[in-house]
């Protein structure tokens, strides 16, 4: 097991370094002159030169990359050009909204997927199954930001049950904040949940055809006990894979949906930064989002090994 984890951690570090290099190349090398991007094409030469100095862009790329990475490791992300405050200050508050939103959404989608997927599998080819799978096919096709708008129209404007947008801040109490995050996470969870529900259903049905399920039934286990003890754990393996893949979609979904609800998370921050030409903020937020995706996929890899003992054997 420890060999397995060590290998995964090495891959994790390599992937993170690779991702940071890609971001650095795109953001600082490709456009030629970031200072020009920040100031706009009609900026004076002196201003561009001054900013180049200020940002340290006159140093060789390798040094700049090194400076960026070591800075991150020390919690030093540099200063926002637009707001003249440390980037970390901007990012910190946004993270405290985006991470709970993402966690809430993934949690909701998994619950939704398990309930719907298991129900559909148990009622294979019956009316309930066919209806639910039809609805989930629709759910996959709906853009999450449109669903978000529809949810606002229904729950905030028509019924006035929930706020239409905005975020009060954690100091105002957990419940108010969770209430503000409920609609956004519903919008995000519907699509991912629909995908996962379909995977859960087909995976459970497939495992039910396995020989070891027949063995369990031959032991005298009831249908229900067989499902819980023998089917579910095996059926979760593909569900987990797809959850890992879908996390990237979900996280970029938060970027969009945060903007629908005017929630000051990473998505709103990065969009504002683009409009302010605040490339240093964009660079760091993108790295942060990429890191979250990579770390979640790392966690999925580890979870695999916990669920499926065969994997550990392969890697040692």
């Amino acid at each position: 097991m420890s060999v397995f984890i060590a290998k995964r951690v090495l891959t994790l570090i390599a992937t993170l370094i690779g991702a940071s290099i890609v971001i650095f190349l795109v953001m600082e090398i490709l456009p030629g002159d970031p200072a020009l991007v920040i100031l706009g094409v009609d900026a004076s030469d002196e201003a561009v030169l001054a900013l180049t100095k200020e940002l340290g862009l006159d140093r060789p790329p390798l040094l700049r990359y090194w400076g960026w990475i070591t800075g991150i490791l020390q919690g030093e992300l540099g200063n926002s050009y637009a707001y003249k405050v440390p980037v970390w200050e901007l990012v910190e508050g946004a993270l405290l909204i985006t991470i709970p939103l993402a966690v809430m959404s993934i949690f909701l989608s998994i619950i939704f997927a398990l309930v719907v997927g298991l129900y559909a599998a148990a009622n294979h080819n019956k009316a309930g199954d066919i209806t639910l799978m039809g609805i989930s096919q629709l759910g996959i096709s709906i853009p999450n930001f449109w669903l978000a708008i529809l949810l606002i129209m229904l729950f905030a404007i028509e019924l006035r049950w929930l706020p239409a947008g905005g975020f009060p801040g954690w100091k105002d109490g957990i419940w108010v904040c969770l209430k503000a995050l409920l609609l956004p996470s519903l919008a995000l969870a519907t699509v991912v949940g629909a995908i996962l529900a379909r995977i859960t259903r087909s995976s459970v049905l497939e495992v039910f055809r396995e020989d070891y399920v027949r063995t369990a039934r031959a032991k005298g286990l009831s249908q229900r006990a067989t499902l819980w003890r023998h089917v579910l754990r095996n059926a979760l393996i593909p569900v987990l894979t797809v959850t890992g893949i879908q996390f990237a979609a979900l996280l970029t979904g938060t970027v969009v949906v945060e903007n629908v609800f005017h929630i000051p998370g990473l998505g709103s921050l990065v969009l504002k930064a683009i409009n302010n030409r605040d490339t240093i903020v964009v660079e760091n937020v993108v790295l942060l989002l990429a890191t979250m995706i990579i770390v979640v996929n790392f966690a999925v890899d580890i979870l695999y090994a916990v669920i499926d003992p065969r994997l550990k054997a392969h890697d040692i």
Binding site: A218, L221, Q223, R310
Partner: protein
């Protein structure tokens, strides 16, 4: 009263092409401590008959007739009642040891499951019993194997584990469906010997299902030969081998490779293949491949005749079949 009494059992599978009669009017008895071999080609309905006994037929299927265990008809029981019987009074070993164990649970846990379920053992008692069972089925170092996962065991060892699971609640009847087909030849005899020994020591009854007449002849008291879902010949093992009567049994025997036979003798095969279950003839199921078949075979189910004491054959052309030599029938 027999321990197990199967009466006119039929299994009908609903397929996309229409209903298929996988087992037709099968009847047999099994006494306590007796061993019965069911032999036939793949697709002859022997596995379906076994699954019907266990109440584990696929969803789209239906059964007719009676399966009486100690006088109680299992086909009238609901799933909850069957759960009390499966693994407890009836146990089964399957063909594929590689896939019949759950890959995500330890071997020990999988053996403990029926013990906890049917014998209400505590966790620690169940573990002690599991270790004893592992030792009993000949797995060396049970203590270490207890925490192993199936993928860490060889095929033969996995089948031993399956046997341990089946034996765990000392069932009245053990059904072994091709228990050695998926194993190496060198392991096959060991596993058969193990089953044989355990069955004898525990006083269980055994239904051994195989396509291999050799396996059946060495390990059973009685034989039931199946073809196309129907029993074509039944009787005491030595009696049947004394005089093979039904043309299909003769063909099966002739097709068996034998040691010591002249090298230049060709291996005999039965012409044709097992017919599609959906388009089975009304009469004798073996009609299409039988060298003796006539029109009557096609349309009328053959009478079941007791040739000698407890040796039954279902054939229209009994006398002809008895007169001819196997070599003449299939050459």
């Amino acid at each position: 009263m027999s321990l197990l009494n199967i009466n006119n059992l039929s299994v009908i599978l609903e397929t996309n092409k229409g209903p298929a009669r996988a087992v037709r009017n099968l009847s047999f008895r099994l006494e306590k401590g007796e061993t019965l071999g069911i032999v036939g080609e793949s697709g002859c309905g022997k596995s379906m008959a076994a699954l019907a006994l266990m109440g584990l037929l696929p969803e789209r299927s239906k059964t007719e007739g009676q399966i009486k265990l100690d006088g109680q008809n299992l086909l009238e029981k609901d799933d909850q009642e069957m759960c009390q019987i499966r693994g407890n009074r009836l146990a089964m070993i399957f063909q594929e040891p590689m896939t019949s164990l759950n890959p995500v649970h330890t071997v020990g846990n999988q053996i403990m499951e029926p013990l906890r379920l049917h014998r209400n053992m505590s966790e620690s008692d169940a573990k002690v019993e599991t270790l004893r069972l592992l030792d009993r089925v000949g797995i060396p170092n049970p203590q270490a194997r207890f925490d192993n996962y199936p993928h860490q065991l060889s095929g033969g060892q996995r089948q031993r584990v399956m046997i341990a699971i089946a034996l765990s609640c000392q069932p009245d009847v053990l059904i072994a469906d091709e228990p050695t087909t998926a194993l190496d030849v060198t392991i096959q005899d060991q596993i058969l010997d193990l089953i044989q020994t355990l069955v004898r020591e525990e006083g269980m009854s055994l239904i051994l299902i195989s396509h291999d007449l050799g396996v059946i002849s060495e390990n059973t008291d009685n034989i039931l030969v199946m073809y196309g879902g129907a029993a074509v010949e039944t009787g005491k093992t030595e009696q049947i081998f004394d005089e093979l009567i039904h043309p299909y049994t003769q063909g099966l025997f002739a097709a068996m490779p034998k040691l010591g036979r002249a090298k230049n003798r060709r291996l005999v095969t039965i012409p044709g293949t097992v017919p599609d279950l959906i388009s089975m003839p009304m009469g004798c199921t073996f009609t299409d491949r039988c060298p003796l078949a006539t029109e009557v075979c096609q349309n009328t189910p053959p009478p079941v005749v007791e040739v000698k004491s407890k040796h039954f054959v279902a054939c229209h052309h009994l006398d002809e079949a008895r007169d001819r030599k196997t070599e003449e029938l299939f050459s």
